[in-house]
């Protein structure tokens, strides 16, 4: 009974954070601000959902739950790397845009920025 309440709370909390990350992505005004939602809130939210699944499957079928732990670890390790690469890509894109606005033409003509 207690476990079921815990699973329910983890489900609600996790889903709330997942939604929060996406709300941040949708409504914040600038790319670097939008980056914050998905890297932190969504990662924690999915982490909580995986934990809920681990508790649930662990009690229902008794298969341990090492695979869930693998999914969670993978997400927590990759989230900062994705954020870092996206930030670098955004900076490169911004440099490219300011360069084309300044009058200089780039090899690719600054295509596909919008």
């Amino acid at each position: 009974m207690l476990l079921e309440i815990l699973i329910g709370l983890l489900l609600l909390g996790g889903a709330a954070f997942v939604l929060l990350g996406s709300i941040g992505l949708a409504r914040l005004p600038d790319f670097f601000m939008r980056l914050h939602g998905p890297t932190k809130a969504t990662t924690l939210g999915v982490g909580a959902l995986v934990l809920a699944s681990l508790l649930h499957v662990g009690t229902e079928e008794g298969t341990g739950g090492l695979r869930e732990v693998a999914v969670m670890l993978f997400l927590f390790i990759t989230a900062p790397i994705t954020a870092h690469l996206l930030a670098k890509a955004a900076q490169a894109e911004e440099r490219r845009r300011t360069a084309t606005q300044a009058g200089g033409t780039l090899p690719d003509g600054g295509k596909g920025t919008g």
Partner: protein, 89 residues
């Protein structure tokens, strides 16, 4: 407890995915769209985990693992493409 919380959680995740799609459609820059796609793939993992609980099947977990790996590699490849104009240097 679960019969009440599961539908709420699934609804919240679906709403989050709709928001991701919206951001992916309006952009405005390429990194924005990649970020939206990456978030969409993570949210899909969340949805798969919820289905895993709802249907009580372990099979879904493998799908979640593959989604996680593919989403990550795809995002890295797209970022590399923007950074250098080429995926394989």
């Amino acid at each position: 407890m679960l019969t009440l919380t599961l539908p709420i959680a699934i609804g919240a995740v679906l709403l989050a995915m709709a928001l991701n799609l919206w951001r992916m459609a309006i952009g405005p820059t390429r990194p924005d769209r990649i970020l939206a796609l990456d978030t969409l793939s993570i949210n899909t993992i969340a949805l798969v985990m919820l289905l895993d609980i709802a249907l009580g099947s372990v099979v879904y977990l493998e799908a979640a693992l593959i989604l996680a790996a593919m989403g990550f590699v795809g995002t890295v490849a797209l970022c590399k493409f923007i950074l250098s104009g080429d995926i394989i240097e």
